[in-house]
């Protein structure tokens, strides 16, 4: 899936990738997709949990070109 913005959080530990996601959500328009590339395993639980708490849409997980997990979020508000 294409993301309008992709955040490189490869070398960050929890909760940094979630903080970056929150700070950069406004970089995309409502309806667009922002991606978080994060090697830290906590992101797998925490990106969906953040979406639920912040009423954004979690679209799922794929992988970046280098194989690092990439988590996709659609901005709803």
């Amino acid at each position: 899936m294409d993301a309008t913005v992709e955040l490189d959080c490869r070398d960050m530990l929890c909760p940094r990738p979630i903080i970056e996601l929150a700070r950069h959500l406004a970089d995309v328009e409502v309806g667009q997709v922002i991606a978080v590339v994060a090697g830290d395993v906590a992101a797998r639980a925490d990106v969906p949990a953040w979406c639920r708490m912040r009423s954004q849409e979690y679209l799922g997980e794929d992988t970046a070109d280098d194989g690092v997990p990439r988590y996709l979020v659609r901005r709803l508000s």
Partner: protein
């Protein structure tokens, strides 16, 4: 009593000489007191070297006893690591091991069509406190009950075939676990075993430790009607105060839960940092966040519930925790969270 046990309980209770007979009597006393406190038969109680070992014996022993019926172990996704490790061990030796999901409160989702040789389920969750629907699952397969988090604090639920508990969790000594196997249940030792008086025990029992564990359990059960409601009220206060802090998730069942613990997560907060800040102010708390774990994995319990895993704190009350101590914690917590969020730039 403990001094007496240390003085007279050193001998091998299996032998026939005088000191050994004394040790045997003390061990039998510990077994009877433990059985009475838990509402089980004395011959259903085995002392083990740890709660973890009791879990392994319980899970794998029920599987061994049902080997002709099948080899499929099912456990909830929020079981303690000792159950998960037993399941992985079983699967690595040709059996199968699957988990069943939980709802957002951490309660296992009912499985009317469950097919299992043995099902492993906790009485209550050790991290979030949620009580599990044990009776419903006990109707579907022989049930191993992990009572490590609840034993003494809550009465054992009905329906289990084997169960495990851990003395240090109720204020007894470390190094004493309990394996409970219901009379008439098909249980076989999954390990090499031993030639003890109790066929389920391995190695010489820690007689003084077993007596200390039994005495502590009796005390906890005797005061449970007084301590439990007091702890419940304190936890209710913590839950409601913490939920007023912005972007905070209090997890677990608010009502049907263990009396003495609560878990919550603060969005954007580093779990290790908040544990350190509280420790500096004299509050010893636990965390399920990845950065606080030796494995660097977040809590599998929180992940299975879909709960936030970072910024996580678990508060466990002791029987002596006071209103003033809880007030002290609640007074400093909002400021610590605000400072850590400011440092993180959110």
């Amino acid at each position: 009593m403990i001094e007496q046990a240390l003085e007279h309980g050193y001998a091998d209770p299996r032998r026939l000489h005088g000191p050994a007979r004394n040790a045997r009597i003390l061990l039998d006393n510990a077994r009877e007191a433990t059985a009475e406190a838990l509402g089980v038969r004395p011959d259903e109680v085995t002392f083990t070297p740890s709660g973890t070992h009791a879990v392994h014996l319980g899970v794998l022993g029920l599987l061994a006893g049902s080997a002709r019926a099948g080899s499929h172990l099912v456990a909830s996704a929020v079981e303690h690591a000792s159950v998960m490790h037993a399941g992985e061990w079983h699967a690595a030796r040709g059996g199968s091991f699957t988990t069943i999901p939980v709802d957002p409160l951490g309660r296992v989702v009912d499985q009317p069509a469950l097919e299992a040789t043995v099902v492993a389920l906790q009485a209550a969750n050790h991290e979030v406190g949620t009580v599990q629907p044990v009776a419903a699952f006990a109707e579907r397969a022989p049930l191993f009950l992990d009572a490590c988090a609840s034993a003494g604090r809550l009465a054992l639920p009905e329906g289990w075939a084997a169960a495990a508990a851990s003395a240090h969790k109720w204020g007894g000594p470390a190094g004493i676990g309990l394996l409970l196997v219901r009379k008439g249940v098909r249980w076989r030792n999954p390990f090499p075993g031993d030639d003890r008086v109790d066929e389920r025990a391995t190695g010489m029992e820690n007689v003084p430790g077993a007596l200390a564990a039994a005495a502590a359990l009796q005390a906890v059960v005797a005061e449970r009607d007084e301590v439990g409601p007091r702890q419940r009220a304190l936890i209710d206060r913590i839950r409601s105060a913490v939920s007023t802090i912005a972007d905070t998730e209090v997890v677990g069942d608010p009502v049907d839960r263990l009396p003495h613990l609560v878990t919550f997560s603060f969005l954007y907060v580093d779990g290790e940092a908040i544990v350190t800040e509280l420790d500096r102010r004299g509050f010893g708390v636990a965390s399920g966040s990845a950065c606080t774990a030796s494995t660097l994995q977040p809590s599998h319990v929180l992940a299975a519930m879909g709960a936030l895993t970072h910024g996580n704190l678990r508060i466990s009350l002791t029987r002596e925790t006071t209103d003033a101590e809880v007030d002290g914690l609640l007074a400093v917590l909002p400021g610590i969270v605000a400072d850590l969020r400011a440092e993180a730039g959110v």
